[in-house]
Symmetry: C2
Subunit: 318 residues, 2 copies
């Protein structure tokens, strides 16, 4: 894959995606000493950057594939993104979702018009159920991150960021399966002086960190993190791109994730999900030495279940 | 006052304020049938539209008045806005705040560099304490809404909205003391075909509604609403502007306020405070017949105490 694939992806999807705004925060600027630019993919359609990759994949289907529909297995943002991208293109979408997925996620995905196919909450059950759906319907599998079309789509967020704010010294993005960070690293290569790209990962789900440091892709054992979008295992296609183009992977504690999330909510009035906060924390808490630098941060998504907060508010009604 | 005052105010403050973005939501568009444009004053400096009026007042002080500093009595967004506007202009700011005010508000106002002067939680104590501060320091009182400079400043949000999206059929804004709604109504008059302006008020704090319907300004007795910014009594200068230029005042229930607030949080990923939700509710729940119209809504602010939510999240840590 080359950065040319990202340019083509951007041309392909630009009519469907939001060109999300870039925001700044005076406090974050003080922390960095120069300037922090927040690329607001939480304001993307479907509430996360995932819509970019989903559109890029769907728009490359043949007429015959479109007729058969698409399928994926996910309980997260990829499911909603694919459902929305499919609906906007008049394509049937099936999502294999474990019975353990929160009702709010099932509803959101169904709300975008997808058919939910329940399965047991194990990876084996997911794969087997998806295989059955494919055998029965001929649906085309669109994986969440281990896919060139998804990587290229994800990278278009950083393309837009660089286009809008100009030269950057560094870009930070969260690492889960590796779709966003590998796309971001490829986007950085479009610059004459490429920014250093840092992957940010919860310490409780550090498979990308361990893979990066050892040079051998390890799988996630038992992830323990509030950042639900980052519990996945690093993808096979994503790892070599990360090894080649990512400067480093930095680990973030659970307390830092919550602190950075609360900071963004309070100071910028933007709702971001815990996964996004993972890429804010190293700037806010200065765990990377980026003082005096111009830094981009990809706020990957804003899909948080706030119903408990509103239950609290309703309980307190005057 | 005329809309010319608003133009002058905008010229005066434009270098200090954020020109806040206008956002849209596909779901709200479906509700209105045409288009709803959200003017995001929750993204304004200090987290609310109040910064506009505070700047407009402070920038009109004489050199001698600047040297004496400013004072106000408030525990809400006006206090923070005035503190920030004063600090940016190198002016001392004192805020008389009842001892009952939440610690988070005291901290925020102090964080913007103001001196907090505590008083008993009664209107009499506030006024007496402010009078003492003025007698002792010569500080200039900047009231929160019953003031031409504050009204003109508040109206610049609607000026920007109309400038950005063009003709509108209606604009909705919350009513508390009446600074925002009277400024918005004056801004509407700059249009060749002025949009109808609707004031939106909690049913539990309906003094503006009762004043509007009876033609006589009544004072707030015992407000009962979660919309803490709207518990104030309608101002004397604000009422005649509202009578002349506002189409109607619509009442909103507490359940509608919370429903509209949750909708905006979940769908737009923007944090708005309950007062802002009051102006969203009539569109979302169709209590005004605005179908097929182009509607502007002023999202007045985003200062919410989310610490309890994060306490909840910390308690659930995996």
């Amino acid at each position: 894959m080359t950065s040319e694939d990202l340019r083509e992806a951007h041309e392909r999807i630009r009519g469907l995606i939001h060109r999300t705004p870039v925001m700044t925060s005076a406090t974050l600027d003080r922390e960095s000493g120069k300037g922090v630019f927040l690329k607001c993919e939480n304001l993307q359609r479907g509430g996360a950057f995932k819509f970019r990759g989903a559109c890029n994949a769907i728009l490359q289907l043949t007429a015959e594939e479109r007729a058969r529909g698409v399928v994926t297995h996910s309980s997260g943002n990829h499911a909603q993104a694919l459902a929305l991208a499919a609906r906007l293109n008049g394509i049937a979408c099936r999502v294999v979702m474990p019975t353990s997925a929160p009702e709010v996620k099932r509803q959101a995905t169904r709300g975008y018009g997808a058919e939910i196919i329940p399965c047991e909450p194990t990876l084996e059950a997911r794969l087997a159920t998806a295989a059955r759906v494919i055998a029965k319907t001929g649906a085309v599998m669109i994986p969440p991150y281990d896919d060139d079309r998804i990587i290229a789509g994800a990278g278009t967020a950083a393309l837009e960021l660089l286009d809008e704010v100009g030269e950057l010294d560094a870009i930070l993005a969260p690492v889960g399966g590796g779709g966003l960070i590998s796309g971001t690293a490829l986007a950085a290569q479009t610059e004459a002086r490429p920014p250093r790209v840092f992957g940010c990962e919860p310490a409780g789900a550090d498979d990308a960190y361990r893979s990066f440091k050892s040079g051998v892709r390890v799988t996630q054992a038992t992830p323990h993190t509030i950042a639900d979008g980052l519990r996945t295992t690093l993808g096979a296609r994503n790892f070599p791109i990360i090894r080649q183009y990512v400067a480093d992977i930095v680990l973030v504690s659970e307390e830092e994730i919550l602190g950075a999330m609360q900071f963004i909510w309070e100071r910028t009035k933007l709702i971001i999900e815990p996964s996004s906060a993972v890429a804010v924390a190293p700037v806010l808490f200065r765990t990377l030495n980026l003082c005096g630098q111009r830094i981009g941060v990809i706020l990957s998504g804003g899909n948080v279940d706030v119903s408990e907060y509103f239950a609290l508010m309703r309980g307190k009604r005057v």
